[in-house]
Amino acid sequence: MPWYLYLALKQLFPTGKRLSFFTAISILGVALGVATLIVTNSVMGGFGYEIRRMIIDTQGDVQIRARGLIDQAEPLIETVSKVPGVLGVTPFAEGVGMLEYGRKPAFPIIQGVDVNRVNDVIPLNRFIRVGSLDELDDDTVILSTQLAYSLGAHLGGKVTISSPLLIERLKNDEVFLPRELTIVGLFEIGHQQLDSNTVLVTLRRMQDLYGLGDAVHGLNVRISEKLDADQMATRINAALPDEPESRARSWLEANTEFLFVLQMEKNLVSILLLFIILVASFSIMSSLLTTVVRKTREIGLLGALGGSSRQIAACFCVQGFLIGLIGTATGLCLGFGFLALRNEILLLFTKLTGSQEALERFYQFSNVPAHMERADLVLIVVGTIVISTLAGIFPAWRASRLKPVEALRNE
């Protein structure tokens, strides 16, 4: 082992003592920075991941819509189903309606789903909290939980639903009676907007409410997990017939702006947290500079022993590197340890502050999600070690400029 490496190690971990005080402080600074970055990045990534999954779960991987209505859904479904990689296709119709429960009105989005096929694409069963999807037929309805909550509606209750068609018919002096449907289930997706404002009916009921005949608004498509949604959308588009004029869009494309904001938010927070590492690097620098001053004579002595100024510089650079390395390793342990215990820690915190209910209301995830991209992890680790090593360069330069004579003179 070259002497400067040996001495760097000995100065960080002196014989007899486990760790020098200055070193411990520097390492702790780096470790805290890394741990914070990891936890934040991972939890934000986790929320992002959950949100993405929710989008896919409710819209499918790819959505096909026509310019107007799709009159002949079945041939189109058949065509799309034959595209390799497509696992399921389900038609849908959706629109705003007026819903009354007792005397309370609401204006939810009504989703008409094909009960036979919807589960091939959208795991609706998973979202049902009360009741069952099997009981959904043309005379029943499933409400989102928060809508039911605000209406005071419960299972077995009856709601009436009417649509814009009612007014249109009225103009022609025709009578269009609101449909009375029985509540057979409640569902919760975990998205404020959807959960407060959605009802599920059968596709046939929706076609009736909107006077669509056999037409639908679009198709939701599920693809094989390994495949890229954008590529699949392109492939499906190539298979789509000219009539009706329709287009497939991946969930990524349909939600570009939202996903961009999500990513932006995560990047911004990461950049802000990077400042913690920078602050830590200043503590490394100042601690190493203090060492250079404290050890002026020994640096002189090393010159007298035959050490070159480049080797002396290396001794301090190595110390910066090692502090970064150990700090990063400690930070990784701290960060991932915290993540492993995140739910317990959150539980403890909410117990202490008595805010458990509020928390569950605000965040639909009862467990804190965590998800880390490998690239982010590599960036944090490499970045921290590089910054720490750079922090050692200035002190190293100072030490190497110290002439042995000057250093030895302060007797």
Partner: protein, 240 residues
């Protein structure tokens, strides 16, 4: 301060005559060395035309008032600083760089300069590390040297656990570690009591004689100075 610099040559030629014959290799040769410090507006001429030669196994003591330039001269001889004019040669070569220093010379200082994080053995071995080789042979030699300076039992003690005299013994062992041709000692007893100082000088002179190492000893102590083979005096920037 105003003497012509050529006067500096004379002691050197005397020295060569004293050394007697060419049987002994010339280890260290400084000729007409000048050194001036500039501190702010003031010029301080510390050395004007110092020459000195030291042969293999020879011991030379340098005495002189405080501030007369003894340390300055020693640093120039060690290649740690460059003279304004004049030359310093090690075994006839002008190369006095860091690469050669580790094996050519050992130094002992008034304030010991041990590395506080390393124990006695580690400090002695540090010389070998800087020279680039620490094997079983080197470890054994370091232990032998520590035993030779009377610290066999203290190998694993940190400098902070050693007395002043013991620290200086470690420093002496370190100076000898790489079997140098020359040892430069700058007031090695300056921080020690008389008895301890005497024993350090005994060690230094004894070991250097034993191993045919040339020694330049800067000291204030007249008794110590006379024990060297040859004594010179630093006065007005010259050796006499």
């Amino acid at each position: 301060m105003s003497k012509p610099s050529s006067a500096g040559f004379q002691p050197a030629s005397e020295v060569e005559q004293q050394a007697g014959s060419l049987r002994y290799r010339l280890i260290l040769e400084a000729s007409d060395v000048h050194k001036t410090y500039l501190s702010g507006e003031r010029r301080l001429e510390v050395l004007h035309g110092v020459s000195i030669s030291v042969h293999e196994g020879e011991s030379v003591s340098i005495r002189g008032e405080s501030g007369s330039g003894k340390s300055t001269l020693l640093h120039l001889l060690a290649g740690l600083d460059a003279p304004d004019t004049g030359t310093v040669k090690w075994e006839g070569s002008l190369d006095t760089g860091a690469g050669r220093r580790a094996r050519f010379l050992g130094m002992v200082f008034q304030s010991f300069y041990l590395i506080p994080e390393l124990d006695a053995l580690g400090n002695v071995l540090m010389a070998a590390r800087v020279a680039g080789k620490v094997g079983a042979t080197e470890k054994q030699r370091a232990k032998d040297l520590l035993a030779r300076v009377g610290l066999a039992e203290r190998e694993h003690h940190l400098p902070s656990q050693l007395s002043g005299g013991e620290r200086q013994r470690v420093a002496v062992a370190r100076a000898l570690m790489n079997s140098p041709r020359l040892i430069l000692a700058d007031e090695p007893t300056g921080n020690l009591d008389e008895k301890t100082g005497d024993s350090i000088i005994d060690l230094l002179l004894g070991l250097c004689a034993e191993q045919q190492i040339a020694l330049v000893l800067v000291t204030h102590n007249a008794a110590h100075a006379t024990r060297a083979g040859r004594s010179v005096f630093m006065r007005d920037g010259l050796l006499q």
